[in-house]
Every structure is written in structure tokens, then in C-alpha cells.
């Protein structure tokens, strides 16, 4: 097992990028990441692509070869692999590259995530997202992805007394963070009242509880730490990685207000690097809905079960609070381009650990963490990064 470092990053703004194709987005972020790393295409041993839905949104499968070709990597016949686990595709692509490098098979990998969600109508993109749940026995019965999270939220409210005001505070906080992130899809503040008064999507969840379905791309260069010295960038070490699965359908879970795969993936990630939850200075979590951020923080153990929403309203997850959560703006305000989201999370933590996060910099940040999940957390992937 070898140490692995992140030596280069590149990201687009997320949003409605109607003038940009999947391959253009992939190329732009890939080039940005390799120039940030100070490497050339000859240094690349493998390409991993996180993508959830090109088949349903673009009628294009085989996007690993597509991106490799468009980026000029096929002239060297570089191996290219697509990784898919719904919205966890990006985080999981990182993990595949991490394992290949740590295991000694390759030295340098480019991991890119790209997604086009706005080439299709809202109703088609929403249906595509619900394919991350059980399409046959959930989506086909009329259950939207939001409605499954609505039942998770209602169950959390019923058991722990979580309130509307507490959930609204999470979107308010993520927009506040995004107001300091020029690459965010929604780089502006919104009030908690605006969240509470936004239209109902599926009770009790409202429009401003929900992350958008965005276009966007993100890429990183991973390198064996022992080989990283010859490249110009001081690396950020990827010290821990964990992954877990759960039942695809929410209705097959014992507790509706828990997402246990997140906790198990986190435990495995902590074990892989000998760190504990109190060592973490900042975290990017998968807030596809406000309730998901609440439960992720509880599963990882940052707050006791049933307490995360209350602590969020108190400002403990805000920049300057007990632990900064989603300084990028999270899925809600940075945007959510499923295949790219897990990689965008890693990029935010790398920026923070490099001290390049500008106005939203977490002072003295040494260790950061990412949590990315697919479906109703039927796949969860957690990474831990540390300043070298």
C-alpha cells in the first residue's frame, strides 16, 4: 500500500451550461487539472471518468473512451474507465484510482467527472435522478427522488423533533458559503424564511431544500506520493478511503431516518488512516436535500443522532463554527452535476488545505473529509485528506 496525493485540480462553474458539451467540459477540466499539476499527457497512466447518466440524457454510453479521445489521450492508448454509482459516481471514480495507485499498478491517474443534466427537460432530468433509487419498485409507482427524501425528513421530524426552521438553516448556510465561491451555481445568500416559504415539492420538503440538477465537470490528478516530488505542486495527501452499500430501496431499510452506509463508509475511511472524527477541520457532505446533510453529519458522528439539525441552526456548521460544513456551498448552492459532484467535493477540500479558498478559507485547516452518496445512500463513499 503506497501513499497517494492529489497534485492537480480543475473545475468548471456548475449550472445551465447550454453552450457546452460533455466532451468540452471534460477537456476543459482535465487540461486545468494537468496544468495545475505540472504534468504532461505522457505522465498519465490511466483515466477514470465518473458519470451517472449520459445514456439517458445524451444517448451516449462509453463516455470513458469519448473523453479520452476528445482529450487526445487515445494517441497513447491510455486506459480509460467509466465508473457509475448514481450521484456517487465521482467519489467512486476517485476511489478506483486511489486503489490502483495505492496498490502499485499505476503511478499517475486523471480522475474526471462530467454530467449534462439540462440538455433534457426538468421532468426527464428528475426521472433520471430517480433511476438512482429502485426504478421498478419506487420510481415506477410514482415516487420521485424528492418524495423518498421527504419521507426520510418526515420520519426524522417525527422521531427527533427536527423543525422546518432547522432544515431551512442548512440551505441558508450553504448559500452563505456559496456567496464566497465564485465557481458556485448560486453564489448569493438566501434567508431561512425564503427557504421556509418556497413552494412545496413533496411535503415537508420545499424547493429550496433541494439541490439543482446541473451541468458541470471537475477533474483531479492523483499520484503516488513517492513519485510526486518530480512534479511542481506540493501535494495534498489522500490518506483515507471508505465505501459501503445498502439496500437499493428505501422501504427495505429498518430505519427511514438513517442512512447507515454513510456511517459505515466513514468508519472504514477513519480506520484506513488511523484518524478520528474530532481530527476533522472541515467536511463536504452530500446535501442533495437539506435532510441528507443532517443525517450525514449524524451518521459520521460529528453530532449525536437527532442533534445535527439543531446544531446547524445554532451556526455550528458555519464557517467559523465548530466544524465548517460545505464551504463550497454544497450540492444546494455550488450545484450538483452527479458524476462531477464527488470530485468537486475533493477539489474544495484540496483548495482549503492548500490555503487557496479565499474569503471562505477555514483558518489553519489541516484535515478535511468528503462524503458522497448515490440514491438514498445505497452507495456511500468517504475520503479523508491531509496537508502533507
Amino acid at each position: 500500500m503506497r501513499d497517494v496525493s492529489v497534485i492537480g485540480i480543475g473545475i468548471t462553474r456548475f449550472g445551465e451550461l447550454w453552450d457546452r458539451s460533455l466532451r468540452e467540459l471534460g477537456l476543459e477540466t482535465g487540461l486545468a487539472a494537468i496544468s495545475d499539476a505540472g504534468i504532461t499527457s505522457k505522465d498519465i497512466d490511466a483515466l477514470y471518468i465518473g458519470n451517472m447518466a449520459a445514456g439517458s440524457t445524451l444517448q451516449q454510453e462509453h463516455v470513458s473512451a469519448l473523453i479520452a479521445d476528445y482529450c487526445g489521450l487515445t494517441s497513447q492508448n491510455i486506459p480509460a474507465t467509466r465508473v457509475e454509482a448514481a450521484s456517487a459516481s465521482g467519489g467512486l471514480a476517485i476511489r478506483q484510482a486511489y486503489m490502483a495507485i495505492s496498490g502499485g499498478f499505476i503511478d499517475v491517474a486523471v480522475v474526471g467527472g462530467a454530467e449534462k443534466m439540462t440538455d433534457v427537460s426538468d421532468s426527464e432530468s428528475s426521472y433520471t435522478v430517480s433511476m438512482g433509487s429502485d426504478e421498478q419498485w419506487e420510481a415506477q409507482t410514482g415516487a420521485t427522488f424528492a418524495s423518498l427524501h421527504a419521507m426520510i425528513a418526515q420520519s426524522h421530524m417525527d422521531e427527533f423533533g427536527t423543525t422546518r426552521e432547522q432544515l431551512s438553516a442548512i440551505s441558508e448556510k450553504n448559500h452563505y458559503h456559496a456567496s464566497m465561491n465564485p465557481m458556485a451555481q448560486f453564489p448569493f445568500k438566501i434567508s431561512g424564511e425564503a427557504v421556509s416559504n418556497s413552494g412545496i415539492v413533496s411535503s415537508p420538503l420545499r424547493m429550496l431544500d433541494c439541490a439543482p440538477n446541473s451541468d458541470g465537470a471537475a477533474a483531479v490528478v492523483l499520484c503516488a506520493t513517492e513519485k510526486a516530488k518530480k512534479f511542481k505542486k506540493k501535494g495534498i495527501r489522500l490518506i483515507g478511503s471508505g465505501q459501503a452499500s445498502d439496500t437499493l430501496s428505501l422501504h427495505h431499510r429498518e430505519h427511514l431516518n438513517r442512512l447507515p452506509a454513510i456511517g459505515i463508509a466513514a468508519k472504514r475511511a477513519f480506520k484506513s488512516c488511523g484518524k478520528k472524527v474530532t481530527d476533522i477541520d472541515l467536511i463536504e457532505v452530500h446535501d442533495n436535500f437539506t435532510i441528507s446533510e443532517v443525517i450525514a453529519l449524524e451518521e459520521i458522528g460529528i453530532f449525536k443522532r437527532g442533534k445535527a439539525a439543531e446544531m446547524s441552526l445554532k451556526g455550528e456548521t458555519r464557517l467559523g463554527g465548530k466544524i465548517a460544513v460545505n464551504t463550497s456551498g454544497g450540492l444546494k448552492a455550488r450545484g450538483h452535476a452527479p458524476g462531477a459532484t464527488g470530485i468537486a467535493q475533493i477539489i474544495e477540500v484540496v483548495k482549503q488545505l492548500r490555503g487557496e479558498a479565499g474569503d471562505r478559507q477555514v483558518k489553519g485547516a489541516k484535515i478535511g473529509m468528503t462524503e458522497n452518496h448515490g440514491g438514498t445512500a445505497a452507495t456511500a463513499v468517504v475520503h479523508i485528506l491531509e496537508v502533507e
Binding site: S126, Q140, G142, T144, A150, D158, S202, S203
Partner: protein, 149 residues
């Protein structure tokens, strides 16, 4: 949805047929040929079982932004329902004001149209649920003492 894909699920969709595991003596929905709790022993020991269709609401939501193909039904109630025999499923609760559906309410299955592929496409039928007229004792007036008028 393709015709073969819909056709092979007809029994589960139309008749609420799932599986009974002879090893663990537990019920499963939808049908499965393998019970994770029993492992390989369950292969060949899973038999079809038609659920009686009564169950209890575990959690519910009123969907305002409808699923693709369900726009004409909105706002509608989606719920996770625990069947009397044990397994849980996700389904719509219909023929009632959707906001009145609460955890603990008794429901029973009905056969309904789920949707259609297009005006000339195949129609999808399946199971939805309605509020069961027979609820728990405390809501039934018979418990009140008789009063002579």
C-alpha cells in the same frame, strides 16, 4: 417501459404476489428467488405468496411536483406501507385527501391504472392503496358507552 419487462412483473404488480421463504418463514415483496437472511439454502425454497393486501402506513408524503407520467394525479400521496405479513413497499394512497394520510393508519390494496406509455402505448395497471374503513379500536364509535335517549 418495454412489454416483456412489464409482462414478467404482472403477478407482483396486479395480484400483489411476493415470496415466502420456507427456511426463515418470512415473507418478501416483490418476488425474489434468494433470501439474503437464509443465503444459498433459500434457493428453491422461495414459493409464491399472494399478500392479503392489508397494511399500515409507516411514512407518507404529499407529492406536489409529480413523477414523470403522473402529472395528472398530483398532488398525490406516496407512502411506505408495511403489509400485514411483514414486508414493506412504496405505493400511492388514493381516494382520500392526501394530507390526511398519517403513520399508523390502516390501508388496503386496490387495482388501479398506473400510467400509459403514450396515447396508443400500453396501459400500465398495478396496485395502489386506499384507507381501510376498519381502523384501530380507539377511532371506532362502538367503544362509547350506550346512552338511553
Amino acid at each position: 417501459m418495454s412489454v416483456p419487462r412489464f409482462w414478467r412483473e404482472l403477478d407482483s404488480r396486479y395480484n400483489l404476489v411476493g415470496s415466502y421463504c420456507k427456511i426463515t418463514k418470512t415473507y418478501h415483496y416483490p418476488k425474489r428467488s434468494f433470501n439474503p437472511d437464509a443465503g444459498r439454502d433459500s434457493i428453491g425454497n422461495m414459493v409464491d405468496y399472494q399478500f392479503n393486501g392489508t397494511g399500515t402506513i409507516i411514512s407518507s408524503t404529499v407529492v406536489h411536483q409529480a413523477q414523470s407520467g403522473y402529472e395528472m394525479f398530483g398532488p398525490y400521496c406516496m407512502a411506505i406501507i408495511e403489509l400485514e405479513e411483514g414486508p414493506r413497499l412504496t405505493s400511492q394512497v388514493v381516494d382520500c385527501d392526501p394530507i390526511t394520510v398519517k403513520p399508523g393508519m390502516k390501508v388496503k390494496s386496490v387495482f388501479r391504472k398506473l400510467g400509459e406509455d403514450s396515447e396508443s402505448g400500453i396501459l400500465h395497471y398495478g396496485t395502489k392503496f386506499i384507507i381501510d374503513e376498519i381502523q384501530d379500536e380507539e377511532e371506532v364509535d362502538d367503544n362509547l358507552p350506550d346512552v338511553e335517549l
